[in-house]
């Protein structure tokens, strides 16, 4: 996807379609594995939520423009990189968990082993041995491995446009159908 910045800003994040998500947790397992070489969904940066009986979705960092987690961190350990991802300075992070309390989406957690904040990095820091040689660079592995293609990386502009087009199709379906071939 294009990473054209608009007024030098880029706001793209992991988006999951609840209609497609089956709640299989593969995204969580993959996330932990490509970062740690160990399957442990507790150390994931994307989190499945199942609300019985039918609702399933996975949630990851929304890359908020004015991120409450950054503001909340008393150690100033959190920052934002050029791509808009939240970065964690592990030397500064002391595992206090204020970022978790500040996040409106519940998508930050602490790594079980080192108790440092865990937040979606779009796999920028995935381990080299798991990078597909044909791709040659890190790419979000949850998207790559989701069996339902329920996970996507989208900019906020793109999300808005897709929603608008869907709404128009719903509202003006009859008019549009006249031009269908």
């Amino acid at each position: 996807m294009s990473s054209t910045k608009r007024r030098s800003r880029l706001h793209k994040c992991i988006v999951v379609d609840p209609d497609e998500c089956t709640g299989c947790e593969i995204c969580e397992s993959v996330c932990s594995f490509v970062h740690d070489a160990e399957f442990n969904p507790i150390n994931t940066r994307i989190h499945r939520v199942r609300i019985e009986p039918v609702f399933n979705i996975a949630m990851a960092c929304q890359k908020c423009e004015d991120a409450p987690c950054i503001r909340a961190c008393p150690e100033k350990a959190l920052d934002k990189d050029e791509e808009g991802s939240i970065t964690v300075d592990e030397d500064k992070c002391n595992g206090c968990g204020f970022c978790i309390r500040a996040c409106d989406f519940g998508v930050i957690s602490l790594h079980l082993d080192n108790q440092k904040a865990l937040v979606c990095d779009l796999c920028e820091n995935m381990r080299e041995e798991f990078i597909d040689p044909e791709v040659g660079k890190p790419e979000p592995q949850c998207i790559e491995m989701c069996p339902r293609e329920a996970i996507a990386l989208k900019t906020v502009e793109q999300i808005g446009e897709e929603t608008r087009i869907d709404a128009v199709k719903r509202l003006f379906g009859e008019m549009l159908s006249e031009y269908e071939t």
Binding site: T22, G23, C24, E25, I26, S29, V30, S32, F33, V34, D36, A37, E38, F39, N40, P41, I42, N43, R50, E52, P53, V54, N56, L112, E129, F130, E144, M145, P147, R148
Partner: protein, 641 residues
């Protein structure tokens, strides 16, 4: 073990935790021990672990509902990894339904959570003095009394209550319902709401031990022996698993088979009187109709790319079951649908909910209800007995019957509450002659959604299955479905026997790994199964070794049955398949032929290298499989109970 010497194993394995817990429910004592690497290599996991422990540690001839039975819970090396459908677990005990080798497999989140909690196998013994549940919370393992808090609750309520108590919506909970508590021989265990360890009455074994539930959660990660190679392989397998090899399970789900088996005359209707139904021809009871009108969502077990679980919802406006959501697969469309002559979908959904939540196996439950419908039509049970009518196609009364059967209430509960075999015996005791004729079971286990009239190969495959009538222990139905042999004939007994054996042992590997049968088509060969085993565990593995172990494990569980009193007569389809021919469809006028059937059965025994007359493994065969410890121990002790 002669064959084992070929493969040397590392001291510390990956994948397996090698942790065995022994839980003495009578004393509350919990012991931990290490499972030898050689044991892992030779018995693989799941079914293999269960078969070996039951052979070694279960006293033959015991009453399966007494404190003498033992309940084995086991996983293999794969849960928590992204090997497709890896989150499965198995339960093994002497079955209170068949009196033979009991086994049941389920999935959901249990396998993965238990793996993270660090256990590989748990063996429960004795009976708790009061109702308890068992918790494995990482290294905290304890029994907790629950007479006041959980006993009496449905499976769903039990799961929710425990998740709230732990403040953890991801807690994995296996629970029995009121049916398991009252030790119904068809009681199941439910986990993750819609997943059941249903068959052979494992819920009754939990109930007999006063064990209401088992809860798991853990924080331990899983490392694999060759991470980069495994990741590449898993990626490929996930890719294949989202393609055509599994589309049937993903798209329409297993109910797609309603139409295809109906077209072949293999879809049992009216309690196996017929193999076709006009309601299927008319697209009323089909996978297409179900999905178009009722299914609202498909969901997956942990680490499963297929998501076969089709959730159907009854609309808010329905007068009887508003907003009911239940999990539908073909077996339930058959058991409470086609077998009962019932074409009302909400009735099917309601019966499924009762089974899953109150805790009986939906196949056994529906097939028992179908028996009752036929007995009602035949006048062998009446409105005076039941308190209501129960003809083919009953709706509200079928739901009422199902509830009573599950809870053990009224005539329905007293007579039918333990499945078809006991129902037949109880009715015959009341003077209702020949009632057992209408119970569609093999070895006491109710039949799955295949009608055997025109399935001569599967007639053998389903009958020799060590846990009783079952398509998941022996996949020979595909031989008839795909036309590998003439499905109406009795020729080529040895060739057929070899094919039936191949299907059976192939399934044994799947049940040892444990992975889901729905992914059997994603592997290029058995060699690829051996390869993933090696990538995860670090144990060098070959296709030949793996298949030899499969044969040994099938043989060992067969030997368990022999020790419990099995004879050749137990490998036999119900009389109805021989005496009542279909009146329509592709198998019109067809019934099984006894002489022909026996010829094919002998062919299977021969292919197995067993005694052709008795069907008992020879000493040579046992030695060849490294089962020397069985020799001299095959005499039945105490007989069937």
């Amino acid at each position: 073990m002669s064959k084992s010497k070929e493969i040397t194993v590392p001291d510390k394995l990956k994948g397996y935790t090698q942790v065995r817990l022994d839980v003495d429910l009578a004393t509350g004592k919990i012991e931990e021990s290490v499972i030898d690497p050689e044991f892992c290599r030779d018995w693989i996991g799941g079914y293999g672990f269960g078969a070996k422990v039951l052979w070694d540690e279960l006293e033959p001839g015991i009453d399966p509902l007494s404190e003498d039975n033992i309940l084995v819970w086991a996983i293999g090396p794969f849960p928590t990894t992204i090997l497709p459908t890896s989150s499965k677990y198995g339960l093994f005990a002497k079955s209170p339904l068949t009196g033979m080798f009991g086994m049941s497999i389920s999935s959901g989140s249990v396998g993965a959570q238990a793996r993270r909690a660090g256990v590989n196998m748990i063996v429960f013994r004795g009976k708790a003095p009061e109702p308890v549940y068992f918790v494995v919370d990482d290294d905290d393992r304890y029994l907790k009394p629950c007479k006041e808090t959980l006993w009496g609750k449905g499976c769903w309520d039990t799961e929710e209550t425990l998740r709230e108590e732990f403040s953890d919506q991801r807690l994995a909970v296996m629970a029995i319902g009121p049916a398991g508590e009252r030790m119904s021989r068809i009681a199941c265990i439910t986990n993750d709401r819609n997943r059941q360890a249903g068959r052979t009455g494992m819920g009754a074994v939990m109930g007999s031990k006063n064990l209401k539930a088992i809860a798991f959660r853990g924080t331990k990660g899983t490392k694999v022996a060759k991470p980069a190679e495994f990741y590449k392989k898993a990626k490929k397998l996930l890719d294949v698993a989202t393609g055509s090899a599994t589309s049937k399970y993903r798209d329409l789900g297993t109910p797609a088979g309603l139409r295809s088996y109906n077209d072949l005359g293999m879809m049992p209707t009216y309690n196996h009187r017929e193999g076709t139904w006009e309601k299927i021809d008319d697209n009323l009871i089909t996978g297409e109709h179900l999905n178009e009108e009722w299914v609202v969502k498909t969901v997956a077990c942990t680490d499963c790319p297929i998501a076969c679980d089709h959730l159907a919802r009854v609309p808010k406006t329905h007068s009887d079951y508003p907003n009911l959501v239940s999990s539908v697969d073909i077996e339930l469309c058959y058991s409470f649908g086609t077998a009962c002559g019932n074409d009302d979908w909400p009735t099917i959904f309601k019966c499924i909910e009762l089974c899953d939540n109150l805790g009986i196996d939906g196949i056994s439950g529906g097939v028992t209800a179908a028996m009752a419908c036929e007995l009602f039509e035949e006048g062998l049970i009446t409105k005076k007995d039941l308190g209501y009518e129960l003809p083919w196609g009953s709706t509200k009364n079928l739901v009422r019957f199902t509830r009573e059967m599950i809870l053990g209430e009224g005539f329905a509960g007293e007579i039918f509450g333990d499945g078809t075999r006991l129902a037949g015996k109880r009715l015959e005791k009341l003077g209702r002659e020949n009632a057992s004729f209408y119970g569609m079971n093999i070895k006491g286990l109710e039949m799955p959604a295949f009608d055997l009239h025109g399935m001569t190969s599967f007639a053998v495959g389903e009958s020799v299955s060590i846990r009783g009538a079952c398509h998941l222990r022996n996949g020979a139905y595909s031989l008839d479905r795909d036309g590998k042999f003439d499905r109406f004939a009795y020729d080529k007994p040895l060739e057929r026997g070899k094919s039936i054996m191949g299907k059976e042992d192939g399934y044994t590997i799947i049940d040892c790994f444990i992975i889901c049968k729905f992914t059997r088509g994603i592997y290029e060969s058995d060699a690829e199964l051996a390869e993933v085993y090696e990538l995860v565990t670090g144990i060098p593995m070959t296709e030949e070794y793996l298949m030899k172990r499969a044969e040994a494990i099938t043989n060992l569980s067969k030997c368990f049955n022999i020790r419990e009193g099995w004879t050749r007569n137990d490998d036999h389809p119900p009389e109805k398949c021989f005496k009542t021919a279909h009146t329509k469809g592709p198998a019109k006028g067809v019934s099984l032929d006894e002489k022909g059937y026996q010829k094919l059965l002998t062919g299977y025994y021969k292919a197995r290298g067993w005694d052709e007359e008795t069907g008992i493994p020879t000493d040579e065969k046992l030695k060849e499989l490294g089962l020397d410890f069985v020799i001299g121990n095959l005499k039945p002790k105490g007989g069937k109970k």
